[in-house]
Symmetry: C2
Subunit: 198 residues, 2 copies
DNA sequence: ATAGCACTTGAACATCTGTTCAAGTTTTTT
DNA sequence: AAAAAACTTGAACAGATGTTCAAGTGCTAT
């Protein structure tokens, strides 16, 4: 429900009714609604982080430069889409995207605590791939990747509507392949002449 | 306020207090809170749409193929960042990104009414640039561009934090240049071998 | 001038929000 | 078996939400 409706629009009573229990249980077991919300992240985010770390190690050990860039991109994308997770239906990926895009998320600090460390690892890996890039260029590249990934996770049906069903955010594997192809090419062939000096 | 906090988190009373008027005025003049919200889009979105249309016409008249792809990308990005609008501080771009990412936006249908038509024009322009691409590929490319753009508009300071201030979402012009460079390269050099047959 | 209309105002409304409470029930420990 | 702790429950709480209402004010056309 947090993934579908976001933190604010998901009320304690909806959660309780859906679970078939009294509302008071949420506050007894998790202290508050935000406590329950955090518990979800504390349970699931280590798995995402570990998958990213492994993906980056895999990329570092790749000698072929072209393959290596592709592996870095996939180290970011694959765990988010829950492709490696068996029992995962992608719900946590959706929650993640919502939290990242939620205006009130900064106050909760969940991303700062749980995802900034691995984000810095991603930035280091990118910088290692492109030693001549400036810090700003590396960061903008990372954010571009992040955004492309996010819009798929947050989609409410607009992608299918605009594409007449030929593209579907409910099929994360296909989405991941297409996005990874564009982003990999974007990183490899980026025209630095345009961004120089800014 | 809608741009900073989103539709739900922006209360009628906060708006009224900020404007120094009684709450009832909102309902008298706009019928409802959503009426005021829609009025913002009805006022501002035609300008965005017109800028996109002009940008696409400019791209179509460009003979050089490389330049042409770049112009299509910029036709999408530049109006959103409010670079051409003089009195615009980018607030409407932020509202747009919020609405696109808001889980409850589908019920309002603002994007369906006001932005799907120009989105289809963008898709046509992309398809014209890459005649050998499938419909799905064109759509995923479009969504990739949209997402990369969105994450900058929605940023609450995380970009500056991760980059130690070397990248800043408050400087939309620089952001637009970097993102456009990556996306343009991504479209031009996309490895279709990866996406074939899906 | 005066009637009519548009607009403004502060208070009230019903509903929903997250949380707390006291009273129960179940489980665990001694 | 008795005592203690952990858990469950439905009702209640204070506060906030969008909206409505009746009364008042200001402007405009006749």
């Amino acid at each position: 429900m947090f993934g579908r409706f976001g933190f604010d629009a998901t009320t304690s009573r909806k959660i309780a009714t859906d679970a078939g229990v009294p509302v008071a249980l949420i506050n007894y077991h998790f202290g508050s609604k935000e406590g329950l919300y955090r518990a979800i992240f504390e349970k699931r985010s280590p798995a995402i982080r570990d998958q990213r770390v492994v993906g980056l190690q895999l990329a570092r050990s790749e000698a072929d430069w072209d393959k290596r860039v592709e592996l870095v991109v996939k180290a970011l994308i694959v765990p988010m889409f829950g492709l490696r997770n068996d029992g995962n239906d992608g719900a946590f990926g959706r929650i993640l995207a919502r939290e990242l895009s939620d205006p009130s998320s900064e106050g909760r600090g969940i991303f700062r605590e749980m995802f900034d460390p691995v984000a810095e690892m991603m930035l280091d890996a990118l910088a290692e791939c492109f030693p001549d890039w400036t810090r700003a260029e590396v960061n903008w590249a990372y954010q571009t990747m992040l955004g492309a990934m996010m819009i798929v996770m947050m989609d409410n049906g607009r992608i299918a509507r605009l594409s007449d069903g030929t593209a579907d955010s409910e099929d994360p594997e296909t989405a991941a392949i297409h996005i990874a192809a564009i982003l990999t090419a974007g990183l490899k062939h980026r025209d630095r002449g345009q961004t120089r000096g800014s």
